[in-house]
Amino acid sequence: MTTSATVWLLLCVLAPAVLGCVTLGLPRRAITARTLIALLGPVAAFIILAQHLATYGAASIESPAATPEIQWIPLLNMNLSFLADGLGGFFGLLVSGIGILIVLYARGYFGRDEASLYRFYPTLGFFTTAMMGIVLADSMLITVLFWELTSISSFLLIGWDRDDRHAVKLAMQAFFTTGLGGMFLMGGVLMFGFATGGDDGLWRWSDVLAQGAARIDPTNPLIIWSFVLMLFGAATKSAQWPFHYWLPGAMAAPTPVSAYLHSATMVKAGVFLTGRMFPVFAALDLWGAIIIPLGAFTMVLAALIALNQHDLKRIFAYTTVSQLGLLMCMYGLGSLTYHGHANIEWDITQIANHAFYKAPLFIIAGALGHYISRDITQLNGAIRKQPWMVITMLLAGYALAAGPGTISFQAKELFLYAIYHAQESIGSWWMLLMAMAAITAVCNVAIFVRLLTTLMGWPGGMKPAAAHHHDDHAHGHAEHEHGPWAQLIWIPGLVLVSLQYVGGIAPGLWAHWFAPLETNMVGEIPSALHAFMHPTLPLYVSLIAIAGGVVVGMSALMRGAIVDVHDRIYPALYWLSVTGGGRAFRVIQTGRFRNYIVFVLLAFLGAYVASMVLDPAMMNWPLTESPFEFVPGILLGAIICASAILMPIVQSRVVRVIILGSCGFSVVGMYLLYQAPDLALTQLMFEIISVILFVLVLRMLPDLKETDRASGRWWRFSLGTMTGLAIGWLTLVAAQSGEEPRLGEFFARHSYTGTEATAGRGGGGNNIVNVILVDFRGFDTLGEITVLGIAALGVFSLFPRRKPAPTELEFDDALVRGAAL
């Protein structure tokens, strides 16, 4: 592979965002052009990636081939290169492919709403790019970077309805939860990099896959912790219990967003990450011990909650959580062995399966909500109103129920086989897992049966409750559009769900597409026919689940709408931090400088004592030469000391400022005596300006109360004395020259011309102070002037400018003119 491959994949990642931004340049009315340009982004990404995979082949785990690196920030081990192996390549195709359909669907969903489309396509492009970045990046840190970008872009998309405070709150909830996970992920990646050797460590996924097994010590606590941290990131993104609350909350987003982010792509980022970690970390004992129970519990819990919901989007959100739990559990079971093989087969097919039915379900849920209602009790007999939408939904619902004839059926069989095979490693625990999987399957089938009976208007379907509760927070629906564009509101769903039936009816064709991408496979993909011809325990479990699902679905049980208790986690945390923060604020932020200074000085003294304990050499008498040699220096020092002692004694503030000034000017003299003209000049100017500023500010301060000053005076006096002594001591210690050459000598040598130590580069100046300021320590100076600027902006905003009255100005002018004459 050449560098051009890297550039092409970079283009592939950036295309959606760039073209999304291009649409901003179009006039608002140009809806068709806007849609087509926005469409180009994911189309380009899909084509480039497919071309890349066709040219170089999806590299297998044995030889993970990343594209050559382009240096970006080598110091941080962040360089641009891409890894389009089976997993990454598949996810890239999934993200860009569904992205194409979602661009079209959004056109149908928003109709002719110009303002929404104007805002939607750039944001969607931003998200698509972020997602492509996660799945294709080779540098682990760049994956983290894009990971956070998906959190940001999904925040924008969930809080789409900016006037709806509830939606904004839910967007914050999602951002907080997934962003926190991103922090953990970053910690995990950094820890992993340092645990494997710092700068020579493993910072690229391709290196991790190639050398990970050999270079990782599974007993090293750093490695174990880095795994735990990364898994935390994956679990929050993929909505595992107890963090799953953000995903149903994210349903406040418009349906194109839910169909894209919250079913097919972003929530799968955690599964993707788990898949990336799988080849390396599966050797850890913790892998299965954490992931299997976590995934299985999430799977059952969410399936049960899904059954007790009425809003279509919430039903599908909880089944998504359930399916994500299942996928995590699948990777967890993969760490076990069965007849010497890893207990995982066709994992990418299992991931694809979910996307291919869940996104259509969301798409049609949005469409039905647009035309009728999203509340399932309001949808009785909907087939008579919207036949095509209902047929598409039922096709996808059949896949949700994992009925034979869909790839979903085979995926479920593979999962059940994995549980069945796990008995070799985990003993009778497999029965518990099998029961959990069966309960999940019963719930999914029951949901499909309910959808079927309700939408068709058959007996046993859901009926409107007596008290009409309209749960459809629709998004500003304009009047319905007609014509071919309007049909885009359901066609993308049909396109996607048809892939389910391709896999179910023609597994050979499916295998032809997916086998090159699969990295974990031993046998052929099982066909439904084969499963029925050679029945094993998993098939019986499936059949029992289907029968049980039909019974539960038809029965009158569990037909209410419940509130998930986990929805309270974030509000409770929010309340805690706001209330607790408020309390802490009132205790700490007294608004009195004296208290703040006490905090600062105490912290300083504490740090001082701690460093004394750590390095007893600091307690040695620091004076090696006699201090009483240079008479002018002693005189100036006496003035400085005298003014410092006078400061607390004098009462008037203005006098204090003057004394402070005299102290400062004596320091100027000191600098001159010791031949530091730069410092002297700076100090001089600084003293002038600070005295002016002090005098100005002091006039605005209220007078101090005498009683206020008296209390605790001796305590403050001793604190001040101790701090003064400590700082004086520190100055003397710092002036000691140790074994090493002084820093000053280094700068003096390199100020004009460089040596080997600075790679032959000097600052090109003779004034060491200034060369340090603008060259050696230029970064500090840049930061300092930024701080200065911010401080000045603070002053400007503290005292908002008042336009001087014109008469006053004229009077002033006249005065000056008169003076000039």
Partner: protein, 142 residues
């Protein structure tokens, strides 16, 4: 804050141009002799403030017709641009270019370091901050 002392007012008309010139000189020579952007900016700001004391706020506004915050923005922008331009040339952030060039009609080579532009940015910020704070506070008092 107008001090109506004729002595100060008249001497200021002489002092001001010299001080401003010296401030520029200190900034430009800073790389090789005492001076630099920070000091130059301080001297510049002190001169402006003294002028404001002697001639009044309106005269100072005429002398410096831009709002100080514009200077801060310009200075920060210049410093950031100088720091970032090396990135475009494939050099590390803040790498300073050092060299010599010949002015026309002069046989003496002119030594320069691109850090000078950075220094100019520092000076603009310092002038903006010092003058801005002082004018804002004194306007508040008036």
């Amino acid at each position: 804050m107008t001090i109506s002392s004729p002595v100060l007012r008249n001497s200021m008309r002489l002092i001001l141009p010299i001080t401003l010139l010296y401030a520029m000189y200190a900034m430009l020579k800073g790389h090789n002799e005492p001076g630099g952007g920070f000091i130059g900016g301080m001297i510049f700001a002190t001169a402006i403030c003294t002028y404001r004391m002697s001639h009044g706020a309106a005269a100072q506004r005429r002398l410096m017709p831009v709002h100080p915050r514009i200077l801060i923005f310009l200075g920060l922008g210049l410093a950031l641009a100088t720091s970032a331009i090396p990135l475009l040339l494939g050099q590390p952030f803040l790498r300073s270019a050092v060299g010599e060039f010949h002015l026309p009609f002069s046989s003496h080579p002119f030594h320069y370091a691109s850090a000078m532009a950075f220094d100019l940015g520092v000076m603009l910020v310092v002038v903006g901050v010092a003058v801005g704070m002082i004018t804002q506070l004194s306007e508040e008092l008036e």
